[in-house]
Amino acid sequence: MSKMNLLQAVNSSLETAMQQDERVLCFGEDVGAFGGVFRATSGLQEKFGKSRCFNTPLTEQGIIGFALGLAAQKQVPVAEIQFADYIFPAFDQLVNEAAKYRYRSGNEFNVGSLTVRAPYGGGINGGLYHSQSPEAYFTHTPGLKVVIPRNPHQAKGLLLASIADDNPVLFFEPKKLYRASTGEVPDEHYLLPLGKAEVVREGTDITLVAWGAQVQVIEAAADLAAEKGISCEVIDLRTLLPWDKATLVASLKKTGRLIINHEAPKTSGFGAELAASLQEACFLHLESPILRVTGWDTPFPLALEKEYFPNALRTLDAIQSSMDF
């Protein structure tokens, strides 16, 4: 066990994976000697050599295409996209290629060993292009998995599980939390399950669900609600595709109320899928409409980031209006 921040946990996860399996390769823009602009791959080139941890030319479509070739050849690529905002040039390689590789070939070939890491989300004064949360786009793509950790312990365990998983996984790292706080993280290899949500806090009146950095927002909202005597069940989804419906249904059947929180814009965000599925699954148990507290339907702003942000106060508003319904 060591105290690590989320960034160190990612670094430790990569090091552990590279130690265990010499086919694990880490690459991307500035990932090599420099160790990445956030330093997530710091020290890996030194330890494992330039052929296993290296800079690529500046081309996201190339990075992912290259990674798919490696995966098809049975290496274990862990590609970094410097910011999730820059994953879109690789959208075709991810959505048309990675997601469909196994299916279209009848399993003659697959790229299951692929993992793509990308820092995502706001909170660092990044404006339109260093703040986006693009996870929902990928959840509409059968064949991909989408995983998002909320703290250092999860970051290492879920990243190792993503690398081990035999499907292409997008692993979005909440960059605002990179250095925000530390937690105990095992030094050795361990796995956390993909596709399983975590009930972070049990409650009886209303369920709050989020992922990544927003989990602390709903926890804060739950604290505020507790002051008003409202007992919130707090759930961290952890994997968005495929997501853990059973855990959500169980919670919702208990509480009858649900607030979904995400930072991405509301329209067609992943909250829409959760609400659509759960109103169907829990129709007779719902005491009030499922509400979404999200970023507004605008690009991510700069000066008015605070006004954009789906924070604990706005979540509390939603909790209140759900309870008052």
Binding site: R23, L25, G32, A33, F34, S51, R52, F54, T56, P57, T59, Q61, G62, I64, G65, F66, A67, L68, G69, L70, A71, A72, Q73, K74, Q75, P77, P89, D92, Q93, N96, E97, K100, Y101, R102, Y103, R104, S105, G106, N107, E108, F109, N110, G112, P142, G143, K145, D166, N167, G195, P242, K245, A246
Partner: protein
């Protein structure tokens, strides 16, 4: 790390813009149409056995393409693409490689696959998307693939295979394998961003991959001069720092020799190679296309006279390795085999319902389990609406 650019370049004091029109890249050629070598040309070291295997593949592909196009016209299959006129490019490049080398194709390289040993039945099963198709009936005709033959399954989005080929080749180098990758693409696909990424990354990361461009003059209706303004695709190679050769794509011997050398350099020097094969798509783009809307018969017949198969046959006959009679008999044999295989494949059932859901992931997640059950139940309630799958479902 750190800057390795020279501070003191060669300097000039006149602003002379490099003029792309100033020079043209020549074409490596060996064989004339009548089957004779060019005066100073030297034939590659090609055994009789290999030469005949190449020619046999030529004839098989002619028989296959001819029959499948006819079947499409008859409505027996929905779609087809021929490679007529370009057989020397893919088949002779594939012949110059080892079977362990991996092929990333675009879609017009069935010849390379046939050379590797994909059986006529395997072709038919894919084209008819039946239950024996290696691809499980999921893709349109001509999207072949075979792990056993190191031929990566084709996907329709153009040029996506180019950076993938680079990654695959890098992986081979990591494994210290004496193997290369060959990556085929058209001059049209070379306009995609993925082309740029794939070639540049291969050069920087020193991946042993042969980029093989079939410059056949057209991308569907778009002629090459509306595709690029430079000297073909070869003129881009040196810009990436990649050794490059332009070759007569209708010249079986030149293509073979160029690829053989490319393989050698790629392996020995750990680097990519670019080959541009100049050829012509004699047929339509696909069975959905009609080239009379964008080019003349006269143009086509000019190229018909450059037929790569005839050229190579002429050489084989001059070598004393082959005869006109053997040629006719062999073609007839292939035609018969194709026709028989087709009849067989046509009768086979479609893949079963569960193949609709399998292989999306390594295992079925809960939501696909649910959807499979829902689909099953629905089909069992409405069997006549789903003739292909209903009969095979167990209640």
């Amino acid at each position: 790390m750190s800057d390795q650019r020279s501070l003191f370049h060669q300097q000039v004091y006149q602003p002379d813009f490099l003029d792309p029109k100033a020079s043209a890249i020549p074409t490596f050629s060996l064989l004339q149409q009548k089957g004779e070598l060019y005066p100073t040309a030297k034939a590659p070291d090609l055994s009789k056995e290999k030469a005949l295997k190449i020619h046999d593949t030529f004839l098989f592909i002619r028989a296959l393409d001819e029959r499948m196009l006819a079947s499409q016209r008859q409505g027996r299959i929905s779609f087809y693409m021929t490679e007529i006129g370009e057989e020397a490019a893919d088949i002779c490049s594939a012949a110059a490689l080892k079977p362990e080398d991996t092929i990333f194709a675009q879609y017009r390289e069935q010849g390379a696959l046939a050379y590797r040993g994909f059986s006529v039945d395997q072709f038919m099963n894919q084209i008819f998307a039946n239950e024996l198709d290696l691809g499980k009936g999921r893709q349109m005709p001509v999207h072949y693939g075979s792990k056993a033959l190191n031929y990566v399954t084709i996907s329709s989005p153009l040029a996506t295979q180019i950076p993938q080929a680079t990654g695959y080749a890098y992986g081979l180098k990591q494994d210290k394998k004496d193997q290369v990758v060959i990556c085929y693409f058209g001059e049209g696909a070379a306009s995609e961003g993925d082309f740029h990424a794939g070639l540049n990354m291969a050069a920087v990361l020193k991946a042993p991959v042969i980029f093989f461009c079939r410059n056949n003059g057209y991308a569907i209706s778009t002629p090459a001069h509306e595709q690029f303004a430079g000297d073909g695709i070869a003129s881009r190679g040196t810009g990436y720092g990649i050794k490059t050769l332009r070759v007569d794509g209708n010249d079986a011997l030149a293509v073979y020799e160029a690829t053989r050398l490319a393989r050698k350099i790629a392996l020995e020097e750990h680097q990519p190679i670019l080959i541009e094969a100049m050829t012509y798509r004699l047929g339509a783009h696909s069975s959905s296309d009609d080239p009379s809307g964008y080019r003349s018969k006269a143009e086509e017949s000019k190229w018909q006279e450059q037929d790569p198969v005839a050229r190579f046959r002429n050489w084989l006959i001059k070598q004393g390795w082959w005869s006109q009679e053997e040629d006719e008999a062999s073609l007839a044999k292939h035609r018969k085999q194709v026709a028989e295989a087709m009849k067989k494949a046509e009768k086979l059932p479609k893949p079963a319902l569960d193949t609709l859901f399998s292989d999306v992931y390594d295992e079925l997640p809960w939501h696909l389990e649910e959807q499979l059950e829902e689909a099953k139940a629905h089909i069992l309630r409405n069997p006549t609406a789903y003739p292909a799958t209903a009969g095979r479902l167990v209640k």
